[in-house]
């Protein structure tokens, strides 16, 4: 009797401990029911974010395709994607479309990502790597894992880009719960994806970050560049918070991985 009752108590205690452990670990992992806010009331974007899907391969709708080098096999084949461009196609003017196709044909050696160049905006956002937003007293910075790219977003700033750069010049504003960032001064050398889509250095890029739930942002980008597009066009995709409690933002210094593409032809020939 006593033994059976003792066993019952044992299991009850164990079950209670189990529930407590589960509850504690859920809370330790920062289980959120609402998007965090600053004391001033605006959404607090601080966190590590990442895009899912495969817009980084091609922001337009695309079916699966061979790897850029077919000998890389299925492992590195291009996965299919519905694209993230509203309406499906980028409204290129004819010459620009021809340039995009040329970029695609020469992507193995010409894609700035392959060369470990700073990813530019908006491409850095939906690369298959996380990025970290830090929201300070007023300004916001974003650090992208790929190539350790850093953006300073000047909140309330009205200054124009003093010089063209890879990551552009960013002025930010809050419109309700949406963080709106106007990017100018882009250098026109960055691409938008691995398919050769691109902007010129005349592009004006407006990003909109809007909380969609405790751990999601909707990311919308409107690109205006009359030199290569027939009208402004828009990208839209969700961003996901990296919720791992022990997530560490590791560095992805890619310079050494690009050196064969950039300098391999200049190596000393083998003496064998």
């Amino acid at each position: 009797m006593q033994s059976a009752s003792g066993r019952g108590l044992f299991w009850a205690v164990l079950l209670t401990i189990g529930v407590l452990v589960i509850a504690t670990s859920a809370s330790a992992q920062g289980f959120r029911t609402e998007f965090p806010r600053t004391p001033q009331g605006s959404p607090n974007l601080t966190g590590v974010w990442q895009a899912l899907g495969n817009a980084y391969w091609d922001i337009e709708p695309h079916v699966a395709d061979y790897a850029v080098l077919p000998e890389l096999g299925a492992q590195f084949a291009i996965p299919p994607g519905q694209g993230v461009v509203e309406g499906g196609e980028i409204p290129y003017l004819p010459d620009a479309l021809a340039q995009r196709d040329e970029n695609f044909a020469n992507r193995l050696g010409n894609d700035p990502e392959a060369k470990c160049y700073l990813g530019g905006v908006p491409r850095s956002t939906y690369m298959p790597n996380p990025f970290q937003i830090l929201q300070g007293d007023s300004n916001v910075i974003i650090v992208y894992q790929f190539a350790a790219a850093l953006r300073n977003i000047h909140v309330g700033g009205t200054r124009e880009a003093p010089i063209d750069t890879w990551m552009g010049w960013s002025n930010g504003n809050w419109e309700g719960d949406t963080f709106v960032v106007d990017v100018t001064g882009v250098n026109g050398v960055t691409w938008l994806d691995r398919a050769g889509n691109f902007t010129s250095n005349m592009a004006r890029i407006q990003e909109r970050y809007t909380p969609m739930g405790p751990n999601h942002l909707q990311y919308e980008v409107t690109i205006t560049d009359p030199t290569i597009y027939s009208r402004p066009w828009t990208i839209s995709l969700p961003l996901y918070r990296r919720v791992e409690s022990d997530f560490q933002f590791l560095e992805f210094k890619c310079v050494q991985f690009s050196e064969e593409i950039l300098y391999g032809h200049l190596r000393k020939p083998s003496e064998d």
Partner: protein, 321 residues
């Protein structure tokens, strides 16, 4: 010396930083969430050398007059290049007054110290241990005769992977000696202009990287009173800072002194390299930001030029010309 170093480096990625004389409004000493405010843009430029001239012994400071005279001499605008360089390619190519930022064009914090190193008391780095000397010799030996074989044989700086002056401890470099400190609740971001941003959690947590080694190490921070203390370990074994080992631990201590100055102190602890831990401190002067994108690798024509120059030389020799 700096000129020669730059010429040897050969990397020509030069960012332009526009720095006006400081006209900073008084800054709040606290962030909105109550942490000490150490944020801003600063120059890490210094007229004080890392190591003290031997003849000064344990003399830590110059008199204010002496220090001012030395600073004025160091910061006087140069009157053109040495006679032998005038009209040469290197005169134009390395004209940092025009294409970069020479020291006299930058803000420099007042500093009466005779050296950045404060411990050992002689203001000089401790002796290297035998293992460090052996590592250095092995590295040099492996490289000898292969300096121009391929990009991997060039220095990490030339390859735009890391600069020793932008790894912790951050020290004055030959040019573009600036940094940004950015704060948000729970984090501080530090970026030396030519380095990578380090996002440092300030919750005093443990290093979570295990045995992972990174070029910039792994940094964790905590507040001790008014001072941000950052400990960095897990350095990449190739990122040797003056011959340091991958087990180097750097402790940085950053404190706001006044509206226009932050003090940057550090201790380097690496028993596999130096016979004792050593420490230094120097003031950073606030500058009007921002820092412009450095994009070193993107503009690195140096590596291609160095390697193609060597291949051309080899072809010339092979053809017997």
């Amino acid at each position: 010396m700096i000129r020669r170093t730059i010429e040897i480096m050969g990397a020509v990625a030069v960012a332009v930083v526009l720095v006006a004389p400081s006209t900073l409004a008084a800054q709040s000493q606290r962030t909105a969430w109550g942490d000490p405010d150490i944020s801003g843009y600063f120059t890490t430029s210094s007229v004080v050398p890392l190591e003290r001239p031997r003849e000064l012994g344990e003399q830590e400071f110059y008199s204010p007059e002496e220090a001012a005279a030395r600073a004025a001499a160091r910061l006087a605008p140069r009157e053109g290049p040495p006679e032998r360089d005038r009209g040469t390619r290197s005169d134009v190519h390395y004209d940092f007054d025009q294409f970069g930022l020479s020291q006299f064009q930058n803000e420099v914090a007042t500093n009466t110290r005779t050296s950045i190193v404060t411990d050992p008391p002689n203001g000089r780095l401790p002796e290297s241990v035998d293992a460090a000397v052996e590592r250095r010799e092995a590295r040099n030996e492996a490289r000898r005769g292969h300096e121009f074989d391929g990009p991997e044989n060039r220095s990490l700086t030339e390859r735009c992977i890391v600069w020793s002056s932008t790894l912790p401890p951050i020290l004055p470099g030959g040019y573009n000696s600036n940094m940004q400190i950015f704060q948000s609740p729970g984090y501080v971001m530090i970026q030396a202009e030519m380095g990578d941003p380090r996002i440092i959690p300030t919750d005093g947590g443990e290093h979570a990287a295990g045995n992972l080694q990174q070029w910039n190490g792994v940094s964790v921070g905590r507040w001790e009173g008014e001072t941000l203390v950052v400990e960095t370990t897990n350095f990449h074994e190739q990122a040797a800072w003056r011959g340091s080992s991958k087990n180097m631990k750097v402790t940085e201590r950053i404190t706001r002194i006044d509206d226009s100055t932050v003090e940057y102190g550090f201790t380097v602890d690496d028993a596999e390299t130096w016979s004792a831990p050593w420490s230094g401190v120097y003031p950073l002067a606030a500058i009007d930001g921002p820092l412009y994108e450095y994009a070193c690798h993107e503009g690195n024509y140096g590596i291609a030029n160095i390697l193609s120059g060597q291949r051309a030389e080899e072809a010339r020799q092979a053809s017997g010309q």
